[in-house]
Amino acid sequence: MAEQEHLRITGVHALSALGRGADALLAGVLAGTPAFAPVRRFDTTGRRVTVAATLPDAGPLADELADAVDAACRAAGLDRTHRAGAALFLAVHGGPEVPALAANLARRCGLVDAHRVYTTACVSASTAVADAATLIARGDLDRVVVAAGYLVEPDQYALFDAGRAFAPDGAVRPFSTGRQGLLLGDGVAAVVLESASATAGRGASPLATVRGWGRAGDAYHPCQPDPQGRGLARAVGAALRRAGLPAEALGYVNANATGTPYSDAAEAAALRRVFGDRAGRIPVSSTKSVHGHALEASGLLELVVTVLALRHGKLPVNAGFLGPDETCPLDVITDAPRPAATGHALTLNAAFGGANTALLVGVP
């Protein structure tokens, strides 16, 4: 397939509890110090768990999204004319206010329109990237800005607490023995995606290439993942096929792993389904252990992490690891960042509804 000839990442920006901007995000995930702390943004009285990874000076979501889009466009070197030809794909939690949020964001940032708004829970942003890749590869669009945002707020916090999804020990321990659950974290990110011709036409240098992508469903349960990982495995397989790359080309997997016992095991099962015994030799980490789970924005935040890590040549650690778990027989990066052995990596996401995505990125 020829899709990989067409899609370039030319600018990125991200906000998380690790700070503002790409440099802060990369430094934070490489340091591997979890950003979880008692929540000060709203009252958590009566909640079972009272920590999250929040950025103290984060503003309203609409403002942070606009700032992220502006910063990513500046990083990509887009002028006003370039922006006016770019479509906005937005990933946020759904609600009556969302159509206006998207339209105002496009207008405020000088983009052509809010082309699509994804409310697909924790695969919203990664689905947006996959769809943008398809439309650029097909020649429908030349330039897309994908933006995504979730800032920890009281309603979702209360819901996750009520669902006993949070880790009572205040730590996210993906793939680890003794893992107890997830914790939420702020995430606002924007990524500029362009065709090869649009990138070359304005003399820009790509940061990375989206080589492959895949989306598939589990058909298993409204909320729980297929314990055999069949849907996620098919998403990974589709990404590899589109990239035209063999499994040995992969040097890293930025995992979805949330620290939830059954879902991390399902993800490990998916990787073994695709890669067999090789799954135990591909370096894997979930940076949710450091920046928390940014829900609808997680796919974009983790794509940015993956691109930055590959470009820097160091793979981030999976914090909170207490020891191996027999249900997750993977090569988890636990103690210190590891050198990147290749220039290709997968970033995986999964969501309620059995929704799964895989994005395969490469760096020059």
Partner: protein
């Protein structure tokens, strides 16, 4: 490529319908029963029996401008009053949950995509389905279009099953 074709279509309500039947595991809101009822009706018209054989790669594209407004408002009011929400609200807090219910019930193992429309909802849903069919991640796509009235009454839903549309 050939454009997708409509394989089946259904609405809820249709003549003679009352409220959609309650859906075990989902509470408080008509949103989820309505999605399940219209999806069942559409898929039954095409396939009769469920589930579909594995590997059917049927996507679900759920389009709703406001989502499950009744549940969201209940959660907001409960939290604002300092209360605790029931755990079932967590499991139905995103539209993926009811899409996943339909997918599991019918064995639909294609992508799950939920959108807030930026234009005419059916056109947005068809565009997303057409993209997934073209791209090859889906062989068919079940579109579900739903809006609840602002007062939380059940509203209407439409389901459309699309096929074809693969690139040559």
């Amino acid at each position: 490529m050939t454009p997708p074709t409509v394989l089946a279509e259904a609405r809820w309500p249709e003549p003679g319908d009352g409220p959609p039947p309650p859906l075990p595991g989902f509470v408080h809101s008509a949103f989820h029963p309505l999605v399940a009822a219209v999806a069942d009706r559409c898929l039954t018209r095409r396939y009769g029996a469920r589930p579909r054989p594995a590997g059917n790669r049927t996507a679900i594209v759920l389009v709703s401008a406001s989502g499950d407004r009744a549940s969201a408002e209940h959660v907001r009011a409960t939290v604002a009053a300092g209360g605790r929400v029931g755990p079932l609200f967590f499991f139905q807090s995103v539209p993926n949950s009811i899409a996943g219910h339909v997918a599991a019930r019918w064995g639909l193992d294609g992508p799950v995509v939920c959108l807030s429309p930026t234009g005419e909802p059916r056109a947005d849903a068809v565009a997303e389905a057409e993209l997934l069919l073209y791209d090859g991640d889906a062989d068919e796509a079940l579109l579900v279009l739903i809006e609840q009235a602002p007062d939380g009454t059940p509203g209407e839903a439409t389901a459309v099953l699309l096929g074809g549309g693969r690139r040559p």
